[in-house]
């Protein structure tokens, strides 16, 4: 029973960060209908920014996290502006191919700068874990969990309450009408991509210190993000959030009770299963944001 509780706890903590990843991608996917292969790279980018600031520049840990999110958003916006905007109206294959090109270029730049050797990031939290009855959890993971929750709640509020959020939702529901109503579609696209990328970078920045940082860390993260998007339904914010937690728990339980080797397969199996049986996602009543 202890093991079970520990697995659930680990799964929930991990799920928070997965949710961040998923939300970022579902927004991009839903509003822009772009197969964003660079999402994983933004995740890695976030982690590397924290590494660079904390280890190379010996800066403050929390400042590093903030910087990672901001720079991630900027990079995302830049990618959209430079690569996607000129291709507005092109078919999905074209944008996909461009995204693949960008993905390769980004990943290898990271590899060039920091080599393939994994890097650890020292964090200011105590090493000794917090023990609550039969389960234990490290302080950094507690922090990561709450930080993720804050970001998720913040994003949700933003999309629901702000004008920009309304513009995003409008664009998602009906692009032509939104444009007719005066919404600047170009700006919405750039902002959405930046926002989603910022969240991905946040996820990377939070998980980087928990594990280790290496150039291909984004690949698996991206695929899991896709799994979450499909589970929750494209553009479905709540769906993505729930999907993130479900994936985290499913991975932990699968690894603990079925096979630790197939842990990462959980995400893919979920994708295939959902697409076969309920392609609009587990939570979609209708595809929508919010």
């Amino acid at each position: 029973m202890d093991q079970f509780l520990q697995h659930i706890l680990n799964g929930i903590v991990l799920g928070g960060s997965y949710a961040l990843l998923g939300i970022g991608l579902t927004l991009i996917f839903g509003i822009m209908y772009v197969v964003n292969f660079t999402h994983g790279e933004l995740y890695a980018f976030g982690a590397y920014v924290v590494f660079a600031v904390v280890v190379a520049l010996e800066g403050n840990f929390f400042l590093a996290l903030l910087l990672a999110v901001v720079l991630g958003a900027v990079l995302g916006g830049g990618i959209e502006w430079a690569l996607l905007r000129p291709l507005r109206g092109a078919s999905i294959d074209t944008t996909m191919l461009v995204m693949i090109g960008a993905w390769i270029a980004l990943q290898n730049t990271e590899q060039l700068l920091w080599t393939g050797v994994a890097k650890a990031i020292r964090h200011p939290f105590p090493e000794a874990p917090l023990v609550v009855g039969p389960v234990s959890i490290s302080w950094i993971r507690i922090f990561v969990f709450f930080a993720a929750l804050v970001l998720i709640a913040g994003s949700h509020l933003f999309i629901r309450r702000s004008r920009l959020g309304a513009a995003m939702r409008a664009t998602f529901q009906d692009r032509e009408t939104a444009a007719l109503m005066g919404v600047n579609i170009d700006a919405v696209h750039t902002f959405t991509f930046a926002f989603g990328s910022g969240l991905a970078a946040a996820a990377g920045a939070l998980l980087g210190p928990v594990f280790v940082v290496f150039p291909t860390m984004g690949d698996l993260a991206a695929l899991k993000a896709f799994a979450i998007v499909i589970m929750g339904g494209m553009g479905n914010f709540i769906g993505a959030t729930l999907g993130g937690f479900i994936l985290g728990i499913a991975e932990e339980l699968g690894a603990g009770y079925i096979s630790s080797g197939y842990r990462d397969a959980m995400g893919f199996l979920i994708i295939i299963a959902v697409l076969l049986f309920k392609p609009t996602g587990l939570f979609a009543r209708a595809e929508r944001i919010g």
Binding site: Q3, G116, R122, T216, E252, G256, S260, R263
Partner: protein
């Protein structure tokens, strides 16, 4: 018509690209080919080995080279990938015409290269790989100076009692090396009447080991034998501490780089033991202390990462072995070098190197029996346990 022309043009353009000038002959040198993972997941280790090899190269050239000619190392990057390993071996043998190779670091890459050695009749000194298959496949062109996991387990056997192991668990990376180590150590422990708990594996790129550690925690064992690369060891140590694992942790395989663990795992590394094949903090404990000290000094002089010494010495020993063979053979020719390797006796940083026959009769490979060192991380530093001191 035009499309065929296009095809032809591209074809010739690319063939033309291949006319990159071959390395100039210049003054006659003795070429030694080295294939190591300089990029990719195990790049850190590959680079350390290459650095050790370079030290050997300069030391040899400072003393006049081999047979009066300068030694030239041609180092190729096998990108941590068995297919690339084969490509680099092919390139070294065919384009650079090296009479002897050293490589390829990982057992998987070495096994991939072995058919090429048979195809071209060129010997290779294996400096790191530990899979038993390498020397038992009937390939007479293989000469290994690194120990198999079996040898490591055997060398460890007399010290096991001092660790007071009652029930042992295993956590290994899911490859030849990890699984082989777990198999051999389990065999050795069982011979001493120690019970085996659970044997877990992890994917080389896995980051979250909490599932495996939770199972190990529940197994009732008191010692954990851990076999994987240093980055993953860091993760395991940290997560083991998180889960309050009470096991004594012993890492095997010699790739654990304790200095790096202290730096990256911090307090989580405290108390762990590590089996190494060279202990650069204690050169006096090596079989040839003067040689060990000289090697460490040269490494430091070049500003190489101290943590890399636990692997760099392999490159050094490998090149020195090859040099001894070439000297003995009297010429830099593949077949003569192969014959000579059987007769060499070299003083390596790890200890004495001499090849014994191993494998199917008539097609044996050479295997040397190396030494083993055990260190512990105590109070944030690397310490030599009492039973290791001379």
């Amino acid at each position: 018509m035009k499309r065929w022309l296009t095809g032809a043009v591209s074809w010739f353009a690319c063939l033309g690209l291949l006319a990159v000038p071959l390395p100039g002959e210049g003054a006659e040198t003795i070429k030694i080919g080295v294939t190591q993972p300089l990029t990719g997941v195990v790049a850190a280790s590959g680079n350390y080995v290459a650095q050790g090899a370079r030290i050997a190269e300069s030391l040899l050239n400072a003393k006049g080279g081999i047979l009066g000619k300068k030694v030239e190392l041609i180092v190729e990057d096998n990108k941590s990938n068995p297919v690339e390993a084969v490509a680099t071996a092919e390139k070294l043998i065919v384009r650079d015409k090296v009479p002897v190779l050293m490589g390829a670091w990982s057992s998987t890459y070495t096994l991939a290269v072995m058919p090429k050695l048979m195809e071209y009749s060129v010997p290779m000194v294996v400096e790191t790989s530990s899979s038993g298959k390498i020397t038992t496949s009937g390939n007479p062109w293989i000469f290994r100076i690194s120990p198999t996991s079996a040898m490591e387990a055997v060398a460890m056997a007399p010290h096991v009692k001092k660790f007071n192991v009652k029930k042992a668990d295993f956590l290994s990376v899911n490859n030849d090396w990890g699984r082989g180590a777990a198999d051999e150590f389990a065999k050795m422990l069982q011979k001493q009447g120690i019970r085996i708990g659970t044997r877990e594996t992890m994917d080389a790129k896995a980051q979250d080991l909490s599932a495996q550690l939770a199972k190990i925690k529940a197994s009732g064992g008191d010692t954990l034998f851990l076999t994987t690369g240093v980055e993953q060891i860091t993760l395991v140590l940290k997560q083991a501490k998180e889960q309050r694992l009470a096991h004594k942790i012993i890492t095997t395989g010699g790739s654990s780089s304790p200095d790096q663990l202290i730096e990256q795992a911090g307090a989580a590394a405290e108390g762990s033991y590590h089996i190494l094949f060279f202990a650069p903090w204690f050169p006096e404990a090596a079989p040839y202390p003067a040689l060990a000290k000289e090697f460490v000094a040269e490494w430091k002089k070049r500003g190489y990462n101290f943590a890399g010494l636990t692997e760099g010495f392999r490159g050094y020993d490998g090149i020195m072995t090859i040099a001894a063979a070439i000297t003995k053979a009297g010429k830099a020719d593949a077949k003569s070098i192969q014959k000579a390797l059987w007769d060499v006796q070299v003083q390596g940083v790890n200890g004495p190197i001499k090849f014994m026959k191993e494998g199917p009769k008539g097609r044996e490979s050479g295997q040397s029996q190396p030494n083993v060192f055990i260190v512990q991380i105590a109070q944030g530093k690397v310490a030599l346990p009492g039973f290791m001191k001379k």
